[in-house]
């Protein structure tokens, strides 16, 4: 297959900047600027692992645990190399330090085709790595944790292992290579020294070089492992951001702009302050971290604060977004997609001739709505501004950015900010934005000496979120007489997530370069399409947008995988065979598709629904975050046109698997998150305000509607670890839409899926 390269025009602008970075000295990721804090005789072998005299191994994980199981999987990488007894492993959050900057997420974000192996791509990756090591930031996101931690955490474990081996060998006065390291101890014949017995001398034996274990030697990686946080989450002792407030904390509730862009015109502070339990009423100016203007009430409990909000009677001055309607915005996006306005991200092959000689042409319009993250834990943050520094208790995907925001808002140096990372009650991208952290800092600054916990109501969390953009798209294909794909053209319109990021980080560079995430999932798929053109019109609208679990893939898979089925249907070709025909040069993609078809019984008759009605099976294949995922979904449509998703079969190749049970869990998670979005997810705006506010009008899949999920892992063993946290989301909606078509229930081109009542179809 022809290797395709596409480079953003915008890369040139940052290229010059990055060339300078290439001259910086190479840096390691093993030792931080400051040593790790230690206690009880612990020694820190590097920035990733500490060992105590009792043999307890404390592994540092610089990623937010938000459900994805990263604490367990990251610890497994280091523990494997260290040769440690798993029961002695503890995990600890990392301090903010450049060694923990996420390099993988930025390298993955470069606008190159995954099949590209060219020099330009290699150079750009190298430069980006250097740049991010120096000037990047810590981030949990982009399904990048395993890819990012695989290098440094494995190295850190191997380095520590060799240090213990050398320390024991020196004590025994034997050559180090005669000693074995296993189960948290160094052994030589009958002799044994536990790591804990070696803490006194191990730092004198830190090696300059070490080698990583071979895959065949692994005893921890690749074996299912129970989550380290499982017990604390079953008995209620796990500490989330919301649980982190000290006992003497006060609680803040806020009045937020009722419409997009509104500002405070006036309010009755005295009336609110007169109410029981109210301690302070403070104005919020808002600012560049996306934190909104408004008014906060600080009280003895959050209930007291919330109750006093009514008395405030805030008057608002409407802003530019006061009239925003998602219905009219959708019409504009549709017009833009029809015209094919926008930036051309990819063009290869002849896009003119095929349409002239096509035996068939296929054209379809698709639409997806704004989506809220709707994590179970509403956004919250606790801040105390004191003379000796600022403490921040929060669950965040970007601790370094959070520190920066607090320092700037409070007016102190970043070194004065102590961030205490806490468990995150679901994030899905929402906690990449620090608006609520900056807001908490703005409140706490006005109540010095007091720890103040800011909590948003569910309605505020849902209506003042950062949304997955609404998108409209037009896809056209030229087919030959056999139904074979000759050329495909995709033109879409919607807001750019990267611009959303730029807005929240105050970074004009991010706001002005073409955002490849708007078309990821269209430009980077394994299909050999002879001619392909991908255009996206990045439209400015007043709705804040940013990353939502699987970002652009969350809608592009719905476009492309639905459309491929529509193309196959022209000549009644089998959807699986049709895709396999486009995957000749992609063994990994082909393997997951064949595996899922086999396991799902593709092509065999389906049992009819118990209560009558129709049944169908649909397929989707999608590459994202270095992982290939194929899904086959079975649906039932009742005589009353009620849809039930009854079985989801998934095959995944995400490279080397660290924790197979963790991968399976993330597949279950992604399927159900994608299912909620496909069946129910929609935020609409009327009069500049989000309409939906809680789980009754923004529903999610509940227990009884949860389908059977069967997960099959392809374990190739040689590819490095890829992502899993987001990869099962994209294929769900198109697989359901394709299943509905197969069931004879019509072609769904708009999400969420709403089947017309039976009388409307007759």
């Amino acid at each position: 297959m022809k290797r395709r390269t596409f480079i953003l025009a915008g890369l040139g602008a940052t290229g010059a900047l990055m060339l300078g970075v290439g001259l910086l000295p190479p840096r390691q990721r093993l030792r931080g600027r400051r040593g790790l804090p230690t206690e009880g005789g612990q020694v820190a072998l590097n920035g990733w692992v500490k060992v105590a005299p009792d043999g307890t191994v404390t592994i540092i994980v610089p990623k937010a645990e938000m459900g994805q199981g990263v604490l367990t999987a990251a610890a497994m990488i280091l523990a494997e190399e260290l040769e440690v007894d798993w029961t002695s492993v503890r995990v600890e959050d990392a301090p903010v330090d450049p060694i923990y900057n996420n390099l993988a997420v930025m390298v993955d974000g470069l606008p190159f085709h995954p099949d590209d192996t060219g020099r330009i791509k290699r150079t750009a990756r190298w430069l980006t790595t250097k740049w991010m090591r120096e000037f990047g930031f810590m981030v949990t996101g982009g399904s990048s944790s395993m890819t990012d931690l695989w290098g440094p955490m494995g190295d850190a474990g191997a380095m520590a292992r060799e240090a213990f081996r050398a320390a024991a060998a020196a004590q025994w006065q034997v050559p180090a290579e005669t000693c074995r390291v296993e189960g948290g101890a160094v052994r030589l014949n009958e002799r044994r020294l536990g790591f804990g017995q070696l803490v006194g001398s191990v730092l004198e034996h830190l090696p300059k070089t070490w080698t990583r274990k071979d895959v065949s030697e692994y005893t921890i990686i690749g074996r299912p492992r129970a989550r380290l946080d499982a017990a604390s989450k079953a008995d209620g002792t796990a500490v989330f951001g919301l649980d982190a407030a000290p006992a003497d904390a006060r609680y803040a509730a806020v009045a937020l702009p009722p419409t997009l862009g509104a500002t405070v015109a006036g309010y009755d502070a005295a009336a609110a302050r007169a109410l029981p339990g109210v301690r302070a009423v403070v104005p919020l100016a808002g600012g560049r971290f996306g934190h909104l203007p408004g008014v906060a009430i600080v009280a003895d409990t959050w209930w007291h604060a919330t109750r006093a909000l009514d008395a405030l009677a805030v008057q608002w001055t409407p802003g530019a977004g006061a009239a925003f309607s998602s219905v009219s915005a959708a019409a504009d996006l549709e017009a833009r997609a029809t015209r094919g306005d926008g930036f051309e991200f990819l063009k290869h092959g002849d896009l003119v001739a095929p349409f002239k000689r096509a035996a068939f042409s296929v054209e379809a319009f698709y639409g997806v709505p704004y989506l809220a993250h709707a994590a179970m834990e509403p956004v919250n943050c606790t801040v105390r501004v004191a003379p000796d520094g600022v403490d921040v208790w929060v669950g965040t995907q970007v601790p370094g950015v959070a520190v920066k925001a607090v320092a700037e808002v409070v007016g102190v140096e970043q070194e004065a900010v102590r961030l205490h990372q806490r468990l995150v009650g679901g994030a899905f991208g929402r906690r990449l934005i620090v608006d609520f952290v900056a807001m908490a800092a703005e409140i706490a600054k006005q109540v010095p000496g007091t720890a103040v916990q800011l909590l948003w109501s569910r309605e505020q969390d849902m209506r003042h979120g950062v949304f997955r953009p609404m998108v409209r798209a037009k896809l056209i294909a030229a087919l030959d007489g056999d139904g074979k794909l000759l050329a495909l053209h995709s033109a879409s319109a919607g807001q750019a997530m990267l611009k959303g990021w730029g807005r929240f980080l105050g970074d004009p560079m991010l706001a002005n370069i073409p955002d490849k995430t708007t078309v990821e999932g269209l430009t980077d798929q394994p299909y050999a399409i002879p001619a392909l053109r991908v255009i996206h019109d990045a439209v400015d609208l007043p709705v804040p947008v940013a990353s939502w679990r699987s970002v652009g893939h969350s809608y592009t898979a719905f476009l492309l995988e639905s459309f491929l089925d529509e193309c196959a249907a022209v000549k009644q070709l089998d959807p699986v065979q049709y895709r396999l025909g486009l995957l000749a040069d992609h063994p990994r993609a082909k393997a997951v598709l064949q595996l899922v078809a086999d396991k799902a019984g593709w092509g065999t008759p389906l049992a009819p629904p118990a209560g009558g009605g129709r049944v169908g099976r649909g397929v989707a294949l999608h590459w994202s975050y270095q992982a290939y995922v194929a899904q086959v979904i079975e649906v039932e449509v009742s005589p009353a046109n009620a849809l039930r998703v009854r079985r989801v079969v998934v095959a995944v190749d995400c490279g080397l698997v660290i924790n197979p049970d963790g991968v399976r869990q993330q597949v279950e998670s992604g399927v159900l998150y994608g299912l909620s979005a496909a069946l129910h997810g929609e935020i609409t705006f009327e009069g500049g305000a989000a309409v939906q506010g809680n789980f009754h009008d923004y529903p999610a899949v509940r227990f009884a509607a949860s389908p059977v999920i069967e997960t099959h892992l392809v374990l190739p063993g040689d590819a490095p670890p890829g992502g899993v946290g987001e990869v099962a989301v994209p294929g769900v909606a198109p697989a359901i839409a394709n299943a509905l078509f197969a069931a004879g229930a019509g072609r769904v081109r708009t999400l969420p899926i709403r089947l017309a009542p039976p009388e409307a179809t007759t």
Binding site: R227, A231, L242, A375, E377, R458, E668
Partner: protein, 183 residues
């Protein structure tokens, strides 16, 4: 001043009678296991037991539980709850875990009333407890697992995906495909 039996202890709380029980538990009694999710009784994250009955603390005024026995996740201490929590841990049920206190409270109440619930019983008992991470398949498996543990059956660890290295086959991670079906 209102007195409630909180986890077996008489607690007198200086709160207005109309304050929702959730905030009295979290911010006055400082027990943090019970979570705030929606505030309108549609997600189940705040589920506690009032005289043994699963109750949404976010919409229950403190005055409504005066003199009654309120049990939060911190106060669970019977064999049923222990079996539920053991199963939850063995099967790595939780992801983010934020909804899990409520899930465990609901599951414990179910198993106290019905020692061997069917899938339909589980659907009915658990449908009010929302999970955005998608723990439902494992919650179902863990409830069945806890029921078996309580019935004195061998703990079916082999079915627990978290404790089944054999699922990968003898050749380990280097080959083959691993399968799990969860409902």
């Amino acid at each position: 001043m209102i007195t409630i039996q909180l986890n077996g202890e008489a607690r007198t709380l200086d709160v207005p009678p109309e304050m929702p029980l959730l905030w009295a538990i979290r911010q006055v009694a400082h027990l943090h296991g019970t979570k705030f999710g929606c505030g309108i009784s549609v997600c189940g994250a705040c589920t506690v037991h009032v005289d043994g009955v699963p109750t949404r603390a976010c919409v229950t005024p403190v005055s409504a539980v005066e003199g009654k026995a309120v049990t939060t996740i911190e106060g669970l201490a019977d064999p049923v709850a222990a079996a539920v929590q053991t199963a939850w841990t063995a099967l790595s049920v939780a992801q983010c875990g934020y909804c899990q206190s409520g899930q465990v409270m609901a599951a414990t109440a179910l198993l106290r009333a019905n020692a061997a619930p069917s899938d339909a019983d589980i659907d009915a008992a658990m449908d009010g407890n929302l999970c955005r991470c998608g723990a439902y398949p494992r919650i179902r498996a863990a409830i069945h697992d806890a029921a078996r543990r309580l019935a004195g059956g061998a703990a079916p660890d082999a079915e627990a995906p978290a404790a089944a290295p054999a699922a990968l086959g003898p050749s380990g991670p280097a080959s083959g495909s691993a399968r799990s079906a969860t409902r």
